[in-house]
Amino acid sequence: MSRIHVTTTINGDPVEYLCDPEETLLDVLRDRLGLTGSKEGCGTGDCGACSVTMNGRLVCSCLVLGAEAEGAQIATIEGMAKGETLHPLQRKFIEHAALQCGICTPGILVAAKSLLERNPDPTEEEARYWLAGNLCRCTGYDKIIRAVMDAAAEMREAS
């Protein structure tokens, strides 16, 4: 089986890799590129732990093939902070204690950022339904929603 050569952009950096035709983008990120911030919670598109954006669109990287990233712009949790400066969502997640075991956190942050990019002023209900595809077994979601709403408010003020 011949491998596929892929040229793509991840968190703004040009990246090249070889991957198998059936290999998922999640496996490429984790196993070939060492970007283990995206997690596998199910491998079937049901938990959101593997959330990344592809050309600005929120996707489950377990449902995208590595080969499909050719020419695309991929953004993962690793690119969310700008150097030492955390994104407001990241800061608010810490402030509101919106994580416990933390394994859902990268996916939820990526998904929440994508929500706020398209809707800077979501209602609580909109936020809850947007994040309904990101499972968290620990927190009960309350602090997650508070953190997202608070970050949204801060970002609106700053802009």
Binding site: T36, G41, T76, A97, C101, G102, R137, T139
Partner: protein
């Protein structure tokens, strides 16, 4: 002082940037091999043939092992040595491991495993409670019976009496990080194990046994888990042992993780129960006698089922002072995955039983269920302190710390229970399709391992010459915030800021012979052990400084990052350096064992618990009577963490536990088909609560109290007790269904939309 501050999780900054490493994120050395089990597709039978040639021929496969290929008897059981790593001739559940594939990648191993041609002579599986009872398929020779008074006689003479029975489903842990382990072979045959486990010592013990090594040749490390909930107390054994066996066979590092579907098929879940009850009561709602039968489906092997079923019996009273009570518990052996520990460890099942009884009694009498509960409460701690006689549990332990009278009064008032109940009645009278319901439920949960010897913990603390502190203890971090709480204890003992304390991975080479991080005991036990270690070092430093400054050790104070000796002040770092220069040891171990415990599990008498943790909740729901669809509208919780070590973490535990408990009793349905296959083995078919299910109004408050027992800073354990607050959601659904007809809804659990709909048929048509 750092204790009692609402500090975020210790690794929060790592988590939000994706840098926190779980086992599967640890960079694997070059040449690491990956493993997968070949699984039985049959629930019960005899293996007649196993053609593994196609597996061996598959791309990337390095080796395939069966039970016969193992040099030793590798066993994964935490209790009865009844779980061979790989099936030996017979299979006992669908999903049992038959053989082990060792390959160059995770996917190569899994794909190869699917190529085996296995012939199994299938036998009819024992799946249900009835089938197990008919076959007398059980653990222990007969049922366990605990009780007090004379329940049969008191039932016979009770002014009123009723009986009931319901099924109470199990629960998949759904830790978001699946089971995972990695083993690196070391020189001389030693093994370094990384495992996502709540019980590193057990992993060490089982790996050592499987390899024929002394425990000192195996070192186990766990920095964190992506959720555990009891599901990583024993269920990680198989992966760690498989990796160790494969590492020994190949000499290469080996790694294994379960794919989600495999994880859900292979690993044990919460025990499902059938509960039968027979209750006597009077017209005021006072229960005079109650008898329970618990039938627990334990699965194919013993695992932790005996203590789980025991704990269910120990919570069959919940908050109620019952004069005559009898609990008979059957631990049934079935051809399903071996049911295991899950947050509450049987306590929730026992508690649901008596809460159902209270609800049924209240419905029969037409009384407010909250009022019936209060009338049956144990005497309050305040009254007992003033000389009133304490109530005793069915196992003979005096309840001297009962807080629920005051907590209940406060919660019912702050959540406006009475007015809302009246408003709901009005709503229900006016609206034919959407009905609402509200319910209150209390929790009294016993804290300590019921196996008394497990109530011990160790710690290891080093102070370096620059004043920085290395902290280690036997507890594991699964998201509950244990590491941060313990670090707060250490920082408080030394009077230093939190950034002076380095939290380190749980490691069997640093603290040996640890108990599982379970039974909510993590901070109680490890907090005290760490305190002891810190105090030893602090006392040595104080003694040294007293000598240097010609004073007594009690004149030395550690606060604000400084050490103050009379007029002299120095930084903690300078004090550490001074002690080091004077050749004072700055390293110490600490040890703690819980006092006052004494328990005889066969007779069912003694004091199995150091103290009780309390909580109460009111939940309001709405149901659609055409479909049974339902949702939680509002939840109000008041919970007792004693003097909280960290209110932010404790609130998080309570919220998460409530949602998980409500999920157990509402949407999380496990379905096995008639052949014993689990049909709900992925999040596509097994429904845990999502963000959209969170109650619109969710008020969680900590009870402002102190532990009456001498625990670490008078705090109380918080991991499990609030899980059972979710019972109020199930009762609220019952209340909503009861608004639709005269009969009692008699809901089973989980009360899925379908079950709510069936309940509606029962109340309307007596079906």
């Amino acid at each position: 002082m750092s204790v009692a501050k609402p500090l975020p999780h210790d690794a929060a900054a790592l988590h939000v940037t994706g840098q926190a490493r779980y086992v599967d994120d640890i960079p694997a050395p070059a040449g690491t091999l990956h493993l997968a089990f070949g699984l039985s597709g049959v629930a019960r039978g005899r293996i007649v043939s196993m053609d593994l040639a196609p597996v061996r021929a598959a791309p990337g496969v390095v080796a395939v092992l069966t039970a016969e290929d193992l040099a030793r008897d590798a066993d994964t059981s935490p209790s009865a040595h009844d779980e061979p790593l790989l099936a030996k001739g017979e299979v006992f559940f669908e999903g049992q491991a038959l053989f082990l594939v060792i390959a160059t990648s995770h996917h190569a191993a899994r794909h190869a495993a699917a190529k085996a041609r296995v012939g199994i002579d299938a036998m009819p599986p024992i799946l249900t409670v009835d089938e197990a009872l008919a076959a007398d398929s059980r653990f222990e020779d007969g049922p366990r019976i605990y009780g007090k008074g004379d329940a049969p006689a008191a039932l016979a003479t009770a002014p009123r009496r009723l009986q009931g029975r319901f099924d109470l489903g199990g629960q998949e842990h759904f830790y978001l990080e699946g089971q995972a382990a990695m083993v690196w072979p070391q020189e001389g045959g030693d093994m370094m194990v990384f495992s996502s486990t709540q019980h590193p010592t057990e992993i060490q013990h089982k790996v050592a046994h499987a390899l024929g090594l002394p425990m000192h040749a195996v070192r186990v490390e766990c920095r964190r888990m992506g959720g555990g909930f009891g599901g990583k107390e024993s269920q990680g054994n198989a992966l760690a042992i498989a990796c160790a066996v494969a590492a020994q066979a190949t000499g290469r590092p080996c790694k294994m993780r379960y794919d989600r579907d495999d994880d859900m098929r292979i690993t044990g879940k919460r025990h499902d129960f059938r509960i039968e009850y027979d209750v006597g009561f009077d017209d005021t709602g006072r229960v005079t006698a109650v008898s329970f039968h618990h039938y627990a489906r334990c699965g194919w092997s013993m695992d932790l089922s005996l203590p789980v079923a025991d704990r269910a019996m120990l919570h069959a009273d919940n908050a109620y002072d019952l004069a005559h009570v009898r609990i008979e518990s059957h631990r049934l052996k079935t051809n399903t995955a071996s049911a295991t520990a899950f947050r509450g460890f049987g306590g929730p099942q026992g508690m649901v039983g008596i809460e159902r009884v209270m609800d049924h009694v209240a419905h029969t009498l037409g009384m407010d269920p909250a009022e019936v509960r209060r009338r049956n409460y144990y005497p309050s701690a305040a009254a007992v302190a003033k000389g009133a006689e304490a109530g005793t549990t069915p196992y003979g332990m005096a309840v001297t710390d009962f807080e629920l009278h005051d907590m209940t009064a406060r919660l019912l008032e702050t959540c406006d229970y009475a007015a809302r109940k009246a408003a709901i009645a009005d709503w229900n009278a006016a609206n034919p399709v959407i009905k609402r319901g509200i319910a209150f439920s209390p929790v009294k949960f016993g804290i300590s391992f019921t196996l008394t010897h497990l109530n011990q913990a160790g710690a290891l603390v080093h102070v370096y010459q620059d004043g920085s502190i290395h902290l280690n203890h036997g507890g594991t971090e699964m998201g509950q915030g244990l590491f941060q709480k313990i670090a707060q204890v250490a920082a408080s003992r030394f009077g230093v800021p939190m950034d002076m304390v380095k939290i380190t991975a749980t490691d069997t080479a640093k603290v040996p012979n640890t108990s599982a991080t379970a039974a909510s005991s993590g901070s109680d036990l490890n907090g005290m052990a760490v305190k002891a270690a810190c105090d030893t070092i602090r006392d040595r430093m104080a003694e040294h400084l007293a000598e240097r400054y010609q004073t007594t050790p009690d004149a030395v104070r550690f606060e604000g990052g400084e050490v103050i000796v009379g007029e002299a002040r120095m930084s903690f770092a300078d004090a550490a350096k001074s002690a080091w220069m004077a050749r004072v040891s700055l390293s110490a171990t600490g040890f703690y064992k819980t006092p006052k415990l004494e328990w005889d599990r066969i007779r069912g008498t003694g004091r199995p618990f150091f103290y009780f943790a309390y909580g109460c909740a009111v939940t309001e729901v709405a149901i659609d009577t055409l479909t049974g669809e339902n949702r939680i509208l509002r939840a109000d919780i008041l919970h007792d963490c004693g003097a909280s070590l960290n209110p932010a973490l404790d609130l998080g535990q309570i919220e998460g536990a409530y949602v998980q408990g409500a999920g157990w009793l509402t949407t999380e349905e496990l379905v096995w088909d008639d052949t014993g296959r689990l049909r709900t083995h992925a999040p596509s078919t097994y429904k845990i609560p999502a963000c959209s299910d969170r109650p619109d109004i969710f008020n969680v408050t900590l009870w402002d109290g102190q532990n009456r027992e001498d625990t670490i800073y008078r705090s109380k354990a918080v991991g499990e007790p609030p899980f059972m607050l979710g019972i109020s959601a199930w009762l609220a659904l019952s209340d909503a269904v009861a608004a639709c007809g005269p009969a009692y809804p008699a809901l089973n659990a989980p009360a899925t939309a379908e079950e709510v709909w069936r309940g509606l048929q029962r109340v309307r048509h007596g079906l």
